[in-house]
Amino acid sequence: MTDQGIKSRPIYAALRRDPSGRRHLYVSAGAEPPPPALCDGPLEGWSVGPPTAEGTRTPPEREGERRFRSASQLKATLARRLATERMGLRLYAEGPEDFLWDVFGIAQEHGLGRQEVFLKQAGTLARRVQCVHCKTLNEGVSTTIVRCAGCGANLFVRDHFSRRLSAFQGVKVDAEQPGDVPPAERAYP
């Protein structure tokens, strides 16, 4: 069920420092420290504290480290930061696929190209699913079939991933036989 034969999905390599860059920024959707392969020199590290730590966060230990309350806050800050950045920056992102491509979209909007942004999938495999019928984005989908929060259709979660929307495509599963909805399997933990 998980391999649907769609071969256009992005493949992610381990992050390593690109020595041709002059400044390096690592953003993570999680709270883990940056991978050692990036730390061979000055590195800014942005991370997101888990909601369970709300109110108990300690200030960052290293210089250049920042902790955000949420991935949304991190992305909004990243957009403001990139608007004033100069050539020579390398951006590294680590997190779930929707986070990665949101970051890539922000980077691209501010002029960073494929040679300047590096992505690595980490954490939950749960998917952001766009309902192709009503365009609602359903977050955190871990099952092969999901009921769309927008229009109520039972969507089959295809492996077709949109880098632009940072989302998988969900297509009505019972279009031919209304009501014929196979049981959902938990496939994307």
């Binding site: 041709s20 400044r23 950045e85 050539m87 020579g88 002029g111 190209g113 300047e116």
Partner: protein
């Protein structure tokens, strides 16, 4: 549409711009010329009394201009004769054959800002960029490096093309590193001119952390002569002499060999030919260090033999 057949044209006018620079305007014999991309060049076939030259020149006319094409040619002392013929013998009304325009130096569509750095006559491709960049409302800067003597000529050409340029003469020039030091994300640099200038631009961009995809170079006219040698064509067994002032490609063409080519400046790689024997003096911008060391491929438009003879798989 891919055009293969040469365009027949004639010389409509020749303007002397300086003692060594002439602008030559061509008009089509019939109909209109094809639309050219910004930064495009054409291959002009010049038929002298004793020999034929095929030289690549950047178009300096705006891309949408189809009733005429113009090029600017410098008379080079150490040339293989093409620029001398063009300066000293070509006259209005003469027929010429022109290859369809080809662009190996396009404007990067994803760039958010463009820095154009020309050196001397290397300004020419940028003259066709300017109307396009302005029409797109693109952010750009143009820096032209030249001798003090020529700064007025280039200033005049840039004014015709709409201006917005900085001219850097010999005595008062800003460093390339200074230009590239503090540019916003999404900036691309394009350079055309002497090898030393282009190398300086590339080095400054890398030093400032620019990715290779944001650095664009165009080089022409590096087909300088050298020691004569002979080339043997393995398939036909023929032997062709290459004189001091000829390129290997020109010698092949003179001998009637159909050799592939496109840019004639060592930039595109279309002319790469397999070498069976002999030592190569590589002068192209296409082969990797590994391929050069391998010694099995030669860019016939610019490279020569380091030995007395070469054997080609032709």
């Amino acid at each position: 549409m891919i055009l293969d057949a040469p365009l027949t044209a004639r010389v409509a006018g020749i303007d002397p711009l300086s003692p060594t620079l002439k602008r030559v305007r061509f008009v089509p014999e019939r109909g209109r010329f094809p639309t050219a991309a910004p930064g495009a060049h054409i291959l002009v076939t010049l038929r002298g009394p004793e020999r034929i030259w095929k030289n690549a020149y950047s178009l300096v006319t705006p891309p949408e201009q189809r009733d005429s094409y113009a090029i600017i040619v410098r008379r080079v002392e150490a040339s293989r004769g093409g620029s001398h013929f063009l300066h000293d013998h070509l006259k209005p009304g003469d027929p010429v054959e022109i290859g369809p325009p080809t662009s190996l130096f396009p404007i990067a569509s994803l760039a958010r800002r463009h820095i154009l750095i020309g050196g001397g006559i290397g300004l020419t491709p940028f003259l066709s960029y300017l109307p396009v960049l302005r029409a797109r409302g693109a952010a750009f800067e143009l820096h032209q490096y030249c001798t003090d003597d020529e700064s007025e000529v280039f200033a005049g050409l840039l004014a015709e093309a709409g201006g917005m340029a900085m001219i850097h003469g010999r005595t008062n020039r800003r460093s390339v590193a200074g230009i590239l030091a503090d540019q916003p994300l999404g900036t691309h640099v394009y350079t055309c001119g002497p090898e030393r200038l282009m190398a300086a631009v590339e080095a400054a961009a890398f030093a400032a952390g620019w990715p290779s995809g944001a650095i664009h170079k165009e080089s022409f006219g590096s087909a300088e002569g050298g020691a004569p040698f002979t080339v043997t064509l393995a398939r036909s067994g023929r032997t062709v002499p290459v004189s001091e002032s000829q390129s290997l490609l020109e010698a092949l063409e003179t001998a009637g060999v159909e050799a592939p080519c496109l840019c004639r400046g060592g930039a595109c790689g279309v002319c790469l030919t397999r070498v069976i024997d002999g030592a190569i003096e590589h002068r192209d911008h296409v082969l990797t260090e590994e391929e050069r060391a391998g010694g099995r491929l030669i860019a016939t438009c610019v490279s020569r033999a380091r030995s007395d003879a070469l054997v080609l798989d032709l």
